[in-house]
């Protein structure tokens, strides 16, 4: 067995109207080369203009990842030649990235894990290339789209941890609204650095880099394949080669190139963008925009004695979690709230295929119904039906309850009269009960329920039926 050490470099497209340094649109399209301005083509004479929104979102993400943030915005040039890089340099951040020395905590299979963030910086994406047998095409739509790159420390020790981290990260992006983070559109991609070492080793093993993996599942496959491949090499007493590999559709990794000496990108400060101070006030405003994040909510839910599975479900989506938090502000019955939200509400969202924010039932409406159930005013079953009806008709459930004059009958005197009447009408069942078939009592509860339009309190009814029948012995 070897110790696996993994570091991730995650690229994520930032959600903005326009590109990072030009006014071309930042949208996904299948039509090549339509979201392109001279800046994105690197034409002679062009100058970059910084997208403030992209900076704000990168700063916000850095804060959410508990990073140290800089006192000013500075960009640097990374110089290299490649056909997808029209200017011959990429504008990125080296001198003062938006974030340094951060960390993020999350659960892996129910256990807490913290990943240290080395840095977060804002840069621009390259054009995309399509290769054919004897020519290649360049699509500049992607050229200049704002990208955040998040680099972790080598502190991830399994494929599960890596995937859980990526899911957490994506969730943070979504919570912050800084990216759509769809890996099928390449909006979130990741490079995996992996090495194996013996438990007794003091230094990290030889690093293998796997580039540009989109799907999280592929990350998992690639890591597990590499662990197996590298273990076999080490088992034979051979050495792992430092190289860059790619993952293929078969889930195996293949060598792309052996790593030669590190490329010198000749970084220097971008002279066309004067440094911009980030004031404390600005930072405070941005910080205030950060909502409570998933992991904090999970912990809060667990403290409310909600089980792990439900806590995860509730915290997964910011809007659902916010909705739930509003519900429990207005009702004390957490169990009912969880039950109604995870079963009735989430079930309906799936069926109706809508977002929770578009739901007619507000958290207050739901809480009101839950309170009636808790106070035995309305039966559980009836309450659920009323909510479905309310959703269908866009009517406040309280209105439905009022208009139908629904009120759970829990008053003993009133209920006893109904029970007596039902017993009188059911001589056969009474005989069976008295002969020892006690299950019949439940049948009689059903009859009480239909006689009262489901308004009778079922538990109270059962109790009274048993009392009345016993008295007949």
């Amino acid at each position: 067995m070897y110790k696996v050490v993994i570091g991730l470099e995650v690229h994520c497209e930032v959600l903005t109207n326009t590109k990072n340094f030009s006014s071309a649109k930042n949208t996904y399209t299948n039509i090549p080369n339509i979201n392109v301005m001279p800046v994105d083509l690197g034409l002679p004479g062009i100058l970059p203009v910084v997208n403030e929104e992209a900076c704000r979102k990168a700063l916000k993400t850095a804060m959410a990842l508990n990073c140290e943030t800089p006192d000013e915005i500075i960009f640097d040039r990374k110089n290299y030649y490649y056909p997808d890089l029209p200017k011959g340099y990429q504008i990125t951040q080296v001198t003062k990235p938006f974030g340094r020395n951060g960390h993020v905590t999350f659960l892996v299979n129910g256990k807490e894990k913290t990943v240290d963030i080395h840095q977060l910086h804002l840069e621009e994406d390259t054009a995309s290339l399509e290769h054919y047998s004897n020519y290649s095409l360049i699509d500049y739509n992607r050229s200049g789209i704002p990208l955040m790159e998040i680099v972790t420390e080598p502190c991830i020790y399994s494929a599960d941890e890596a995937v859980a981290f990526l899911e957490t990260l994506r969730n943070i992006f979504l919570y912050l609204g800084v990216s759509e983070a769809k890996s099928d559109k390449g909006q979130m991609r990741c490079d995996v650095n992996i090495s194996l070492m013996k438990d007794t080793d003091k230094v990290l093993g030889t690093k293998v880099e796997m580039k540009n993996i989109n799907a999280f599942n592929s990350v998992k496959e690639a890591i597990n394949y590499e662990i197996k491949r590298q273990s076999e090499i080490l088992d034979k007493g051979e050495k792992v080669i430092q190289e860059t590999r790619r993952i293929d559709e078969d889930g195996k990794t293949y060598s792309m190139r052996e790593k030669v000496d590190a490329v010198d990108y000749k970084y220097f400060v971008e002279p066309n963008l004067a440094p911009v101070k980030i004031t404390k006030e600005y930072k405070d405003t941005v910080r205030k925009e950060i909502p409570e994040l998933e992991y904090s909510r999970i912990k809060r839910y667990l403290e409310l004695n909600i089980n792990l599975e439900d806590a995860l479900t509730l915290a997964k989506d910011k809007d659902i979690s916010n909705y739930f938090d509003e519900v429990i502000k207005n009702t004390k019955d957490i169990n009912l709230a969880v039950n109604y939200l995870t079963i009735v509400i989430l079930g309906s969202l799936n069926k109706l295929n809508i977002n929770i924010n578009d739901l007619f039932i507000t958290p207050t409406m739901l809480a009101n119904v839950i309170n009636l159930v808790k106070e035995n005013e309305v039966s559980n079953q009836l309450a659920k039906n009323i909510i479905y009806e309310a959703m269908e008709k866009n009517i406040d459930p309280l209105e439905i309850i009022k208009s139908k004059n629904i009120k759970q009958i829990s008053d003993e005197g009133e209920l006893r009269n109904i029970v007596k009447k039902i017993i009188d009408e059911s001589p056969e069942q009474v005989k069976e009960y008295l002969n020892g078939k006690e299950m019949v009592a439940n049948f009689l509860v059903g009859k009480v329920m239909s006689a009262t339009n489901k308004q009778a309190n079922p538990a109270a009814s059962l109790k009274l039926i048993k009392e009345e029948l016993e008295r007949m012995r």
Binding site: L41, L47, N79, G88, K266, N272, A274
Partner: protein, 483 residues
């Protein structure tokens, strides 16, 4: 009205009095441009047709001008005088060009520069050497060679150039015209092919200080496409020109003007300079000799080379033949880039790129590039300190007259090092700086350079105008002998 000697002011009057039409002026300029080509070779492209569609009629409407061939002009060939761009037709307008179009100014032609604006001789453009209209055996200097020659020859009353080290102000001296570089950011660089972004300035050549003020008025202002551009100062630069400069304080740098041995030309130039200083003093201004650490002054030129080459190698990395440019084929993308750049650039350019690449390399960057940036900062700090006491630095723009073609003008003796390169100080600090003619040596014009603190463009033009009035070289064109 004699077109060749007319300033913008003169032409405006003639146009407004219906003595001449814009089309006639264009045709005259075009004829002069074509005739001059075989002698001075100032143009890469001469336009065929008069075109003026002002958004609003103004002072530059119907005034002919020329534009350095490193400004992006939609639909008009723009080569930067390099083979790598010899077929390049831009798809967007530089802000400067757009402003001039909107003002109704009439473009006559695109002018030759030293390849990619790197060089000070005007001899390295891909269409050949530009010669000095005053003496066709001499250079006009560069890199804004064609721009300067076209103004000095009377083809156009003004031209737009670019100034990274002294690329407008040095040729202005050799051509006997006015060369003005406003404060960094005063005029948008959007669409100016970048040489060294932190040093590049849009600059202009005219035949009077007032014309420089007129053109700057039109060009200045904040540009959302250039984040280094400055908010407009709201001033009309023509209104401050006639104020007396009595009480103004000038200084010149002792170490740049002190020599153990002097050539005849240098001696005459310095004599003329001293005569000028006396005349300025007679206006009630003071001129002091100020001493600056010679080691620091000697570091100006090497620091300039290091910084400008570093930025240039990065700025010109877009020239690969992949998205645009004169692509030379190859079987891989590396080969295409390699072949395109090998054939596209002259040896001098490659030399600069090698220097630029070398100084940016990890192991050299601190010692070479960052140290050059530190020298730059020290010089700029020194200037800021001096500008607390003084209104302007006044210096000979050059230690002599335009060199003869074939004179090894790029090889500089130690004596000349400071005097020939001090104008880069204006680029280091983004200071407004102007060169204007102040006399003749051996029947060739010489220029004086005045530099003020940043944002003091209006004050600088006032000083320049007062000195110009003192000397009288207004509307000077080649052939005017004033020995």
């Amino acid at each position: 009205m004699e077109y060749k000697k007319s300033t913008i002011e003169n032409l405006r009057e003639a146009l407004d009095n219906n003595e001449v039409t814009g089309e006639e002026l264009f045709n005259e300029a075009k004829k002069l441009a074509e005739e001059s080509q075989k002698d001075i070779n100032a143009f890469v492209t001469i336009l065929d047709k008069y075109k003026s569609r002002p958004k609003k009629k103004g002072i530059l409407t119907d005034i002919p001008y020329s534009l350095k061939d490193n400004f992006s002009t939609t639909g008009i060939l723009t080569t930067a005088s390099s083979n790598i761009l010899k077929n390049y037709v831009p798809v967007y307008d530089a802000t400067v060009y757009k402003k001039l179009k909107d003002a109704g100014a009439v473009l006559v032609g695109k002018t030759v520069l030293d390849e990619l604006a790197m060089g000070g001789t005007g001899t390295t453009g891909h269409t050949g050497v530009v010669l000095n209209p005053w003496d066709k055996t001499r250079l006009i200097g560069g890199s804004s060679a064609g721009s300067c020659a076209s103004v000095a020859a009377g083809i156009v009353p003004f031209s737009i150039g670019s100034d990274t080290g002294d690329s407008v102000r040095k040729p202005a001296s050799y051509g006997g015209v006015v060369g003005f570089k406003p404060t960094y950011g005063r005029i948008s660089r959007y669409g100016l092919f970048a040489f060294a972004s932190s040093l590049d300035h849009v600059a202009l050549l005219t035949r009077s200080v007032k014309d420089a003020a007129i053109v700057t008025n039109v060009l200045k202002g904040e540009d959302p496409l250039d984040m280094t551009s400055l908010k407009d100062d709201g001033l009309d630069y023509t209104l401050n020109l006639d104020k007396s400069i009595k009480g103004k304080k000038f200084f010149y740098i002792k170490e740049a003007c002190t020599f153990d041995k002097k050539s005849d030309i240098l001696e005459s130039t310095l004599n003329e300079f001293n005569k000028l200083l006396d005349k300025i003093r007679s206006l009630g201004a003071t001129v002091d000799e100020v001493s600056i650490d010679k080691d620091l002054l000697n570091a100006i030129y090497p620091s300039y080379m290091v910084i400008s080459c570093a930025e240039a190698t990065s700025n010109n990395s877009n020239l690969t033949g992949i998205p645009f440019g004169n692509r030379i084929d190859g079987s891989t993308y590396e080969e295409i880039m390699f072949n395109t750049r090998t054939e596209g650039f002259s040896e001098l350019i490659k030399r600069r790129f090698v220097i630029g690449s070398y100084v940016l390399q990890k192991e050299n960057q601190d010692k070479l590039f960052l140290n050059a940036c530190r020298v730059r900062r020290m010089i700029v700090d020194k200037m800021h300190e001096l500008f607390k006491t003084y209104d302007a630095l006044i210096m000979p723009a050059s230690g002599g007259i335009a060199p003869k073609l074939g004179e090894a003008s790029d090889v500089l003796s130690d004596e000349y090092l400071i005097l020939e390169n001090h104008m880069a100080i204006g680029n280091f600090g983004g200071f407004p700086s102007i060169t204007l003619p102040y006399g003749f040596v051996n029947s060739m014009p010489i220029g004086v350079n005045i530099t003020s603190n940043i944002l003091k463009d209006s004050e600088l033009l006032n000083i320049a105008k007062q000195i110009e009035d003192l000397l009288g070289y207004i509307g000077q064109v080649a052939g005017d002998k004033n020995v």
